[in-house]
Symmetry: C2
Subunit: 147 residues, 2 copies
DNA sequence: TTACTTGTAATGTGTTATATTACAACCATA
DNA sequence: TATGGTTGTAATATAACACATTACAAGTAA
């Protein structure tokens, strides 16, 4: 089971805003064109990124902009904004272990801590990666192709 | 989006086999009772665990047993056996970034490496945890309750 | 006022996880 | 060897979910 494409879409969106906000009016349709994703989906992700304080969007007014410098946005910020499993946890536990079985009764106790440990390791790695890293790579590639 | 319950089911199964293989004939129905999961699903997971060389199952013959000491089975072994994203990767990438857009054209190049890095961090943590750790906790709880 | 944009509800479609029924293949033992 | 129990698996149902799409209200800027 994979992590939703909303995450890569969101990273793509932020990179787009960064690269184009000075030269174009960045709109949901513009982004839909770059990502190949339906504009309504894009607007949904934009709302989540806005709620997380990462971008500025205003109803009616075109021109989406960044709310923070790229160096201050990590993969974790984006992940948390669009694909968070805060309520549920990364791992889906089978719902009905048998409380009358010694193993079924105690399996949650034995597992929960360790599942959380794995989730934390993943989230820590997400925190290491900044959106500025991604944008730098994209722009380096663009420059390289100009020649 | 979460990791399938097949993973926690599989860990539960292995713990069950370990705890009960000396005293009971462990069957798919027995495990279904402990996990609260349908026997057919259990048999599917059992097949995957068998294919991964973690357990012994023989058609017709009851009595499922472990193929390795618990100390030599990690969360990663189980994860790989039942819920692997080997072909796809942990992150689902949006399918149609626009090759005519400078960002759309290069977003894969800029992201793939980092997504793999996050996936690797998670898998490394899975490798740190042994099934014997889980079984020890379960059995300690059982002992504690006897008193 | 007009043209454009965001926000969002409603609906459709395809995919996937799990449950369930049914049955063939197989094994162990009386 | 006949029988009862077990695994393997196909077929089907159901629910949840991701994403696409249409439609339109609400808002903005010229």
């Amino acid at each position: 089971m994979q992590i939703t494409s909303r995450f890569t879409i969101a990273v793509h969106i932020i990179t787009c805003i960064h690269c184009f906000q000075d030269d174009y009016k960045v709109t949901s349709n513009f982004i839909a064109g770059s990502t190949g994703v339906n504009p309504v989906i894009i607007r949904g992700v934009l709302s989540q990124l806005k709620a997380a304080g990462l971008i500025h969007v205003r109803q009616g007014a075109s021109g989406i902009t960044l709310a923070k410098p790229l160096e201050e946005i990590t993969f974790f910020d984006v992940y948390e904004a669009v694909d968070s499993v805060k309520d549920e946890g990364l791992f889906h536990f089978h719902e009905n272990p048998n409380p009358d079985c010694p193993v079924g009764k105690n399996i949650h106790f034995a597992l929960d801590r360790r599942l959380a440990q794995v989730q934390t390791a993943m989230e820590q790695e997400l925190r290491q990666i900044r959106l500025s890293d991604v944008a730098a790579d994209v722009q380096a590639k663009i420059e390289a192709e100009k020649k």
